[in-house]
């Protein structure tokens, strides 16, 4: 059985690469991008279960991206990643259909727990 497919979207490339490696070590099939536009391309191209999405990004921001994903790929669950200052945005994102949100800095344990929960929501027949 293969692990959930996770797309990590954050403008901090170093963070993205570290998270991708750590999640892969834990059985996820993780990939990462650093812009909202790239994220939409990848989501459209591949079959991701969960998207871990940073709210504050230059260019296309997290809220715009989640709107498109929820519209065009409602099966994909989105977890928002926010700094303290953008907690209000995260709540707004939840209202737009985000599965959950996490505040930076996150711990890998919390991240894995929420990703599994989201993945279960996305593919209940496979994970359940």
């Amino acid at each position: 059985m293969t692990g959930p497919r996770v797309l990590i979207v954050d403008d901090e490339a170093e963070l993205v690469s570290a998270l991708v490696e750590r999640l892969n070590l834990r059985g996820f099939r993780a990939a990462g991008v650093t812009t909202g536009a790239e994220a939409l391309t990848r989501v459209a191209a591949a079959d991701f279960d969960v998207v871990l999405l940073d709210v504050k990004m230059p260019g296309l921001g997290g809220l715009e991206v989640i709107k498109t994903i929820r519209t065009e790929h409602p099966e994909v669950q989105v977890i928002l990643l926010t700094g303290h200052g953008s907690a209000r945005d995260a709540e707004a994102g939840t209202q737009l259909g985000a599965f959950d949100y996490l505040m930076k800095p996150i711990t890998i344990t919390d991240l894995v727990r929420v990703l599994h929960a989201a993945a279960n929501q996305s593919r209940p027949e496979e994970t359940g």
Binding site: A18, H84, G85, P105
Partner: protein
């Protein structure tokens, strides 16, 4: 290490409350209130005193003038009656009787009974020899050819002499009537008037001689005002009656020449002794005499002087009282104003301080957000290193471990830059002057907002025109000014907006910084109020203090701030700062 919280600047640190300003305020208030209080007092007192003096002088001069008029009439009548009588005697008495001393004696007695005041009678022929005489002295045969009254009578027909001693060696005056008998024969009838009687007519006094005392009792003597002296002088100023001031008869009066006046006149003169006098005088008609009524000015004005003295004391005491009360009141009020200003300035500084703390708080939130990214990288890179070490039996490759460690170090360095920037802002809370590169300072301020600009896709451009010199000013205060204005610009523009920061030197003494946004703009009606405290366009989101405090700081730094705006197009704030703040040297 415990960091000490910056001390809020006190109200007096920057010279807002200066002693000189309050001294000037106190002086101006003191002068204004004193003037308002003293001028009416002095005017009313002056006018009242003037009216009183006028009434007083009128009271003083009227009795003297009345006396002079009465004495003029009395003396004029006395002389004219006796001259008429002499004229009648000369006309009606036969020439032989006139030349007869016994007949003349009878005429004298008749005159004495009818008129009185005549001492003797004499008849003088054309040679000047007194051919007949009736009276108490042995004067028959005396020669009067050289006497003035004789010569004057022959020329004018009538003569009234000055008072003189004559053959009898007593003061007397002579009334003389001339008659031309024809054929070079002439007669002059002369009558002697006793000066005691003359004097009696001028001043109430009993005659020294019994026969004339009886006459005096029949006359209505005039009462001289108690403060005055009354006497008669001739045309040379020689006393014709005794004077209380200038001595006995035939002495000199020491008065300056008085202008001719046939009516009683009043004047003020200074006599030869330097004595100021009030003088009423008049010519006595048909005679060479001037009646003088005088009084020393000091004596007559004693009452007035007393009133003046009282008035001066009243005015001085009142003025002192008013000045004291006004000075005390002014001092009290200005002290209250000073205290209120101190409180207001302290409140203003507190507001300024609070605004800065709020700015730091806002920045803190931004910084916390910004710092989360490198922290997250540190966490995840560290976590990955641990994962590689614990989740695999083999050690990860050395290059991998070095890459991870570099990432951790680089991110830690990023955190350090962010915290240093925040500390650099918070550190400048106290007022201090230093040389400042405005371009660098604006980049530093913008550094706080860089991330937000990036997230919101804002285009920020810096335009430093020409060589802009450093200015001497307060770094912390300028940071606050520009942070407030740039924050407002950020709030005014939509995502993707444009903010332009321009710096240029203006003239030779100033540097201007303009911050222009293409945001929503400010309605024209609100522009006059945007620097007012508590005025805000950010409904519910602003305190309304930011621009007010910005305005206050710029003014304090010796600069000025202006704003132009068009709704829908954008706003430009221009801060003009002096190269050197004039108060920079004294604000420590």
């Amino acid at each position: 290490m415990v960091a000490e919280a910056p001390r809020p600047p006190s109200a007096e640190d920057d010279g807002l409350i200066s002693g000189g300003r309050y001294r000037r305020m106190a002086l101006a208030a003191f002068l204004a209130v004193s003037t308002v209080a003293l001028v009416p007092l002095l005017l009313v007192t002056g006018v009242s005193y003037r009216q009183y003096r006028s009434a007083f002088e009128s009271d003083l001069s009227n009795p003297m003038l009345r006396f002079a008029a009465a004495a003029q009439q009395s003396l004029g009548s006395f002389l004219s009656e006796r001259l008429s009588a002499l004229g009648m005697i000369m006309r009606d008495t036969p020439i032989e009787d006139l030349k007869n001393s016994a007949a003349l004696e009878r005429v004298l007695q008749t005159m004495e009974q009818s008129f009185g005041g005549i001492v003797d009678l004499g008849v003088i022929d054309e040679t000047g020899i007194q051919v007949a005489y009736a009276g108490p002295f042995a004067l028959e045969g005396r020669d009067y050819a050289e006497h003035k009254f004789f010569q004057q009578a022959r020329v004018a027909g009538v003569s009234v002499s000055d008072v003189f001693m004559g053959y009898r060696n007593l003061p007397h005056l002579v009334l003389a009537i001339h008659k031309d008998l024809g054929g070079h024969h002439e007669l002059v009838l002369r009558a002697t008037v006793d000066t005691d009687v003359f004097h009696f007519l001028v001043r109430a006094r009993t005659s020294r001689r019994p026969e004339q005392a009886a006459f005096c009792r029949r006359c209505h003597s005039l009462v001289v005002p108690p403060f005055a002296d009354a006497f008669i002088i001739n045309q040379d100023g020689v006393l014709q009656t005794p004077s209380r001031f200038y001595g006995d008869i035939l002495g000199r009066s020491r008065l300056p020449p008085l202008p001719h006046s046939s009516e009683p006149a009043l004047t003020e003169v200074v006599d030869a002794r330097g004595q100021p006098l009030v003088v009423a005088y008049t010519q006595i008609q048909g005679s060479p005499f001037t009646l003088v009524v005088l009084s020393p000015r000091d004596a007559t004005h004693a009452g007035l002087m007393s009133v003046r003295h009282d008035v001066i004391i009243f005015v001085v005491v009142s003025c002192l009282l008013i000045v004291t009360v006004v000075a005390a009141g002014t001092t009290y009020v200005v002290r209250r104003v000073h205290d209120a200003d101190l409180k207001r300035a302290a409140l203003y500084h507190k507001m300024e301080y609070t605004n800065k703390l709020a700015a730091i708080g806002r920045l803190g939130a931004g910084v916390a957000h910004e710092i989360n990214n490198p922290l997250s990288i540190i966490t995840q890179k560290g976590g990955l290193l641990k994962d590689l070490l614990t989740m695999s039996d083999e050690l990860p490759p050395k290059t991998k471990m070095i890459d991870l460690t570099d990432s951790v170090l680089k991110s830690a360095e990023r955190c350090g830059v962010i915290t240093h920037r925040l500390l650099g802002f918070a550190r400048h809370m106290d007022v201090q002057q230093e040389s400042i590169d405005l371009d660098a300072l604006l980049h530093e301020v913008f550094g706080f907002l860089e991330k937000e600009a990036s997230y919101r896709n804002l285009r920020i451009t810096f335009d430093c025109i020409g060589e802009v010199p450093h200015i001497v000013s307060d770094r912390g205060q300028l940071q606050q000014v520009f942070l407030n204005i740039i924050n407002n610009a950020f709030a005014a523009v939509d995502d993707g907006g444009h903010i332009e920061i321009g710096i240029r030197q203006e003239e030779t003494t100033d540097v201007a910084v303009s911050i222009t946004d293409n945001g929503i703009g400010i309605p024209e009606s609100q522009i006059p109020h945007i620097f007012d405290p508590f005025f805000t366009t950010k409904k519910g989101a602003g305190t309304g203090l930011g621009l007010s405090i910005t305005y206050g700081i710029v003014q304090k730094l010796g600069g000025r701030i202006g704003v132009t705006s068009t709704v829908g197009k954008g706003t430009r704030f221009t801060v003009t700062l002096p190269l050197t703040h004039p108060a920079a040297g004294s604000s420590e």
